[in-house]
């Protein structure tokens, strides 16, 4: 074999490697979609015959403390609290933890809900760094709404402080920029009642709330926004946070619960030491630690996904904010996976150790590296093609027709996978009612692969580098526009570090 043949074979093999990777990742999403459709069918049957309205007659309803950590969230906090207070559930309290906001988050809450100072006991069960500066309750000593103000210590620290104030046996973690469906809590708590000894945590789906019609903290009409960037994020969320999670939950390998909407037994959260304050992906870290704790104890327990209820979240509308968010997310993922790498391929950790975590390493953590190398590979191939015949590179060194075919097949499969997820979502939930919305989602599923994906791969790679360099975690500027529910206000620049 001459060196030319050898080099040609290497280029060929690398191309095939990229194609196989694309095939595997997309195939896994198709399988997850199938599992998600099964999960939703099972849920529908349960809803039809074992309706959750009976919970209002429940002899011993499980009390829930809804924890909302807030840092400079003045545009969304009132809507979020209204949405939480409007939940249909017999026994719950809402605790907002203002984590050293420098805007009017605290004042807006006090003014809107008429909060009064009250000396609430802050337990010492979980360590916190930012000292508590004040506690408030709703008028008339009503503990159904409490505000805890503290110095800035980060989201995880705020959640730990909230858990120290929480009174109930279950804690629901939600983001301040999220709106929960009115029955969200009711449905998310149901698995705890149905399987009291087994379920230790539940998670609901997260969807994009940007562009939706919102009235008094409720999403009244789900819409797909017209903006290109937000529109693509809608289909991305459907694929990953609705379909992907439902699929993983079906095989018992749900690894990531978004901070936007998750319910935990507070005893379990305390037993694993609360939220990790030294990790950017504190929500995912908590879930993996809970899995680990359950497996190490060896007495069962599971984390369930509830596909019906939805937390609607505001997503970045500009590239700069999106870049910061994706960089932070990927950094968090890297930290969590590295921290728990000892769980990989260990039978005792079940599906999580044998399947989910390896999948996340291969198809989530390394995905940006592989995608960007794939782009670099295509550029090299194109350069070689242009050099063919010039004497530098021999003729037919690269078979461009094969490269083009493989690249097209990979792209077509990726786009089809997103469409399959959209169909799964439509079959299961049918949230988006207008044909215009459907058309926009189809358009977004194609757009996602033409520029957006490559950009996010670059941002995610930078997150990976941040994690390796242990760079200080910077929240950066987050533009919040709110859900269009409250009185119109100018966008607010959110700044801060943790």
């Amino acid at each position: 074999m001459t060196w030319v043949e050898f080099a040609s074979a290497i280029i060929h093999a690398v191309g095939l490697g990229f194609a196989a990777y694309a095939l595997a990742i997309n195939l896994s999403f198709v399988v997850l979609t199938g599992l998600a459709v099964r999960a939703a069918r099972r849920q529908r049957l349960l809803d039809e015959f074992a309706g959750f309205d009976a919970y209002f007659l429940e002899p011993e309803p499980l009390g829930v403390s809804i924890l909302i950590p807030a840092h400079n969230e003045e545009t969304t906090i009132v809507s979020a609290v209204q949405a939480m207070r409007a939940q249909r559930y017999p026994e719950f309290e809402v605790i907002v933890v203002d984590d050293g906001s420098t805007d009017r988050t605290r004042e807006r809450l006090i003014e809107t809900f008429g909060l009064e100072p009250a000396p609430l006991v802050v337990g010492e069960g979980l360590p916190t760094y930012g000292p508590i500066t004040g506690t408030y309750v709703a008028p008339g000593g009503d503990r159904s709404l409490a505000l805890v103000t503290k110095s800035h210590g980060g989201k995880a620290d705020a959640l730990n402080a909230g858990m120290n104030v929480a009174r109930h046996g279950l804690v629901c973690l939600v983001d301040a920029d999220s709106l929960l469906d009115p029955d969200g809590l009711l449905q998310a708590i149901r698995p705890f009642h149905d399987d009291p000894c087994g379920v230790v945590a539940t998670v609901g789906a997260v969807r994009v709330g940007t562009g939706c019609e919102v009235r008094r903290g409720r999403v009244t009409e789900a819409r797909i926004p017209r903006g290109g960037l937000t529109r693509i994020q809608v289909v991305e969320y459907v694929r990953s946070f609705v379909i992907g999670r439902a699929g993983w939950s079906m095989v018992g390998g749900l690894a990531v619960i978004s901070g936007s909407f998750g319910v935990f037994r507070s005893s379990v959260v305390r037993a694993v030491g609360g939220m990790a304050t030294d990790c950017v992906g504190e929500d995912a870290d908590l879930v993996v630690r809970v899995h680990r704790w359950l497996a190490d104890r060896g007495d069962g327990g599971r984390i369930a996904f509830v596909p019906g209820p939805v937390a609607w979240t505001e997503v970045p509308a500009d590239r700069r904010t999106l870049a910061l968010q994706r960089r932070r997310w990927h950094r968090g993922l890297s930290e969590v996976l590295t921290r728990h790498r000892s769980m990989l391929f260990r039978r005792r950790y079940g599906v999580l150790g044998m399947l989910t975590l390896p999948w996340f390493w291969l198809f989530e953590l390394f995905a940006p590296v592989v995608e960007l190398l794939g782009i670099a590979y295509l550029v090299v191939v194109l350069m070689l093609l242009t050099l063919e015949g010039t004497g530098v590179v021999p003729i037919d060194f690269v078979d461009w027709s094969i490269v083009l075919l493989i690249a097209s097949a990979a792209l077509a499969f990726a786009a089809a996978t997103t469409l399959v997820a959209l169909v799964g979502d439509e079959i299961n939930f049918g949230r988006y009612r207008s044909l215009g919305d459907q058309a926009r989602s189809v358009l977004a599923s194609a757009q996602e692969h033409l520029g957006y994906r490559q950009l996010t791969a670059w941002w995610r790679l930078r997150g990976l580098i941040d994690a390796k360099r242990h760079a200080p975690a910077v929240w950066g500027e987050m533009k919040r526009n709110g859900f269009g529910d409250s009185a119109p206000q100018p966008p607010v620049e959110k700044t801060g570090t943790r």
């Binding site: 015959f49 074992a50 309750v137 786009a415 089809a416």
Partner: protein
Amino acid sequence: MRASDTWVVGIAQAVLVVCSLLTLICLLMLFGLRISRGLVASRDRRTTSEIRAVLRDHLLGGWMEEANAAANIDRRVGRDWESVERELLLMVNRLRGESLDRAIALLQQRGTVDRAVGRLQAKRPVERCRAAHTLGVVAARDHSDALTSLLQDPSPLVRRVAIRALGALGNPTTAPAAVAAGRADGSMSRDVVMALARMGPGAVPHLTATLAASIATGNEASDPLLAVALGRIGDPRAIDVLCAAVASPDLGLRIAAARALGCLEDPRAVPALTVALRESHEALRVAAAEALGRIGAVDAVPDLIQTVARGDAASARSAAEAVLRLGPEGRSALDASPSPHAVEALALASLREDR
């Protein structure tokens, strides 16, 4: 082209063809589903509103003769009975008194109950669920046995719907079967408790005897549901067995029994609850404190104040709230306590009074 390239090209071409077809199918499904759902929803809205209007007329106004009510409804609505039946079954849960009787009479007149009984042995679990659900909704008490046999069904959902239906019938003779079902499948315990509670005082003798036997034989681990059900029924005949349960070795049962004693609000339970308040387990102390507060046990103030001062956060908070419910004596005891939980309870009480 190399030999290895041939199969690569073949696979890539196959993937492209499959993806193109998949894309086409997905597009058709996305838009087809949306359009058909829109059409079905608007048709259903029209039909449902017509049916509901006619049913409301019949159930509230009684403008028809019972004998030909169904025929009249068919004539006015112009739809098959299935749609009417579906709507009626949805409405029944919200009806009371004469309207409920009329609705059930109408369903029986059109053979709904007989059809449901026939479907109890259907092959598909969904059909069996629907049948059991229907029998529960129309409170077909004559068919308790058929529903009881469904508690052995291989499908967990069918068993669950059956236990709910038995609860709707409220027949206390089915209590043993319900208890056995709850013991066999822990995930049904909540439905079993609700069913037993709906069976009422008639179920109490069986529940107390079963619980007493479990405690005597040391086999009480699966019986917290009995204690919860007894608390829910609220029959004072359960006091003795619940007090014994609070002292049993099984923690789950002890907690459930303490809560049940709180529901009964009977002062005879105070000694047993006071002992439980001194135990080491947090959840048990919380349950005991809450129960003492509900009973209004002024005698237990010293023990409650001790829990406020020395207990963990949850039990101290529950004890402080319980003491507050005991009136002026409790309030003055809290005033004297330096515990932050006492301060919190008093501050919240003061805010409530100011309002």
